[in-house]
Chain length 386, copies 2
């Protein structure tokens, strides 16, 4: 982008943009890309991220596994790997496992600690972004207010940023996915749990205490008890666990011969089996996914009415069911949304898929490094978070 | 505020703030308030709005009446009046009525056209803010894309700004009501209709096409048909019209003796009669309001989970029921919201009451004039909106 375009986009004055550009050129975080088209006068210089400025470590913690990626400074993934972890083993044990995996990746690809400029982590918990602390995580026992950044500061001499997993997925999708041009976007992840990440006027919106986007416990009026103690929560009605539970019932009662056979053979049922059922044209498997999609769509309709985005991106494991799921989500949205709110609304499946979280972790890190925020240097937060 | 504080709040550089301050001092829109406390060096100058810079006309259009206020440049109301209007008479007729009322107020208070710096209007319709045009208004037949600004430009030589009525109420409440310090706030209006205005990271959030905050058609799962064609909409379940309808049923069936007597005497029932019923300890009147409050609270709980504000303000005619209503709204919110989202959440009744819309119209106008937006000078939009 040119300085003029950067000023437009950021709302900063041209002189402020020039100051930032000079600093970032000196720090070698950006470089001159080429010379743009002239609109009459001198041709403007265009600036771009310097992908060789250094490396970024992206870490995505899930309930049962962790993904780690090494990226260049342009958020492109150089290499990645995953490993099984159990979050219930507590932060020390889990993070040691993640550190080992990171070390293995680095030595395997000849990347030294000194070139790592920052570490970005997405975790399945509400996060106080400014301190990087998990806050009352419902599915991470023992992690409440655990200083994750401090752990990494013992091993790397660079800043570390922590955010909620769905937030980083939304960031990834916004930065490198469907469209960076879209200013108002909602990313909805439908996996075991259901959550949303909100891009509001061009930036990630975290809310007053970092819990924005928590849509898993929207009341959809269904007669199901949720682990949170309420009834009718979206997650308990349409999430991956709910789908698997209903599939089990269809198998046990013999209503779906297909699922019954699979359950008898394997002793358990997963989302993969339901996908196989859809491919084999088992109508009850298709119905399960359609039903989930409609519930999700009805809730997204409310979000669309309330926040009037121009793009909704559907991601997560259940979204992998493809067109059957997406069509019923769309139907649910159009049925309950107001005409004005859906007039220019796009509803699409994530194109980054499983990579959106890792790319988002890298983007969050590069974004913060570019901003030059000084409140997250190891020497600062090592004392402040104690 | 000092220049330093303005730079902090706006995110602009100190030099950009200085430029703006100089321009606004020259235009006499702001003035030096006094000299602030020193934090060591020279004492900083504090700047404030120049309330004598000129006048602002604030207009709030409702379905059956209009309110007009003349304000000073600090958004304080000098005088105001209201008149009955029927929006269905179409824009020309209604706006002529509003113009006459405005003229009457001005001559009554010796305010000349030349001192009017801007006009701010709130209307019960989605609005494309940039053009000031109503877009597909469901309850304003004949107003779709009617150029309201053009109408005023024929009579006043100053900019005119139009926005949705609930948006201006949220602005008013944020600017002069409960707290200007709050960055994330939801204002919920419960009257005949139900809607929300969203303050997001310090600014009014309008969404991609200006329809953000439309919560009246959230699906609450109740078995009622809404005028929009869907079933179970919040507005059709808990709005003023729904409450009046249920009251009528209680009267006709004789379940509430109190309401039955009132209906027989007056031939109709209004919200005022239900309030009288509550004061006379009619349990069914109290139950009506409690029920409405709980439905509203359940929907606000979803909004709280999704957008994690630090303040929810309840306004509109039904909010005037006071503690009975507010207590049940709170109950609904706490029952369905996540602990983290409600930890520091305040839920309050509007303190500006019926004035929030007018004050918000004035604030919107002053805000735009201070920003110095040039795209709304009569000579610009007279041509562009055709």
């Amino acid at each position: 982008m040119s300085k003029t375009a950067l000023a437009d986009k950021s709302g900063l004055s041209l002189s402020a943009v020039s100051d930032h550009v000079e600093r970032l050129l000196t720090e070698k975080l950006i470089k001159v890309a080429n010379v743009g088209k002239s609109s009459g006068g001198r041709k403007p210089r265009l600036y771009t991220l310097n992908r060789h400025a250094g490396n970024v470590v992206a870490i995505e913690l899930g309930t049962s596994s962790v993904r780690v990626a090494l990226c260049d400074f342009d958020c492109s993934i150089i290499c990645h790997d995953r490993a099984a972890v159990d979050l219930a083993e507590g932060p020390e044990n889990v993070l040691k496992r993640v550190l080992a995996l990171t070390g293995k990746l680095m030595s395997g690809h000849g990347i030294r600690k000194e070139t790592v400029m920052g570490i970005g982590i997405g975790i399945p918990s509400p996060v106080e972004f400014i301190s990087g602390l998990p806050v009352s995580p419902p599915i991470m026992p023992g992690w409440d207010r655990y200083p994750i950044r401090e752990f990494w500061a013992k091993h790397f001499n660079c800043p570390c940023y922590v955010d909620n997993d769905v937030n980083v997925m939304a960031l990834g999708e916004h930065a490198k996915g469907l469209s960076f041009e879209v200013d108002n976007m909602i990313y909805v992840k439908i996996g075991t749990g259901i959550g949303a990440g909100v891009i509001c006027d061009g930036s990630l919106y975290r809310g007053a205490s970092g819990s924005a986007g928590d849509i898993g416990h929207f009341d959809v009026g269904a007669d199901v008890l949720c682990w949170c103690g309420n009834t009718g929560c979206l997650e308990a009605t349409a999430g991956g666990k709910a789908i698997a539970g209903k599939a089990r019932e269809l198998a046990v009662t013999g209503r779906s011969r297909f699922l019954q056979t699979v359950l008898q053979e394997k002793g358990e049922l997963s989302l993969k089996d339901i996908r196989a059922g859809i491919e084999q044209l088992d109508p009850l498997c298709t119905e399960l996914i359609r039903e989930s999609g409609e519930w999700v769509g009805r809730v997204i309709a409310s979000l669309v009415n309330f926040s009037n985005p121009s793009l909704v991106v559907i991601g997560g494991g259940v979204a992998e069911f493809g067109d059957v799921f997406l069509a019923s989500v769309r139907q649910g949205i159009y049925r309950r949304s107001l005409p004005l709110a859906t007039r220019h609304l796009q509803i699409n499946k994530s194109i980054l898929g499983k990579m959106s979280g890792l790319i988002g972790c890298a983007f969050m890190t590069v974004d913060q490094l570019i901003l030059g925020s000084t409140d997250n240097k190891p020497e600062t937060f090592l004392t402040s978070s104690r």
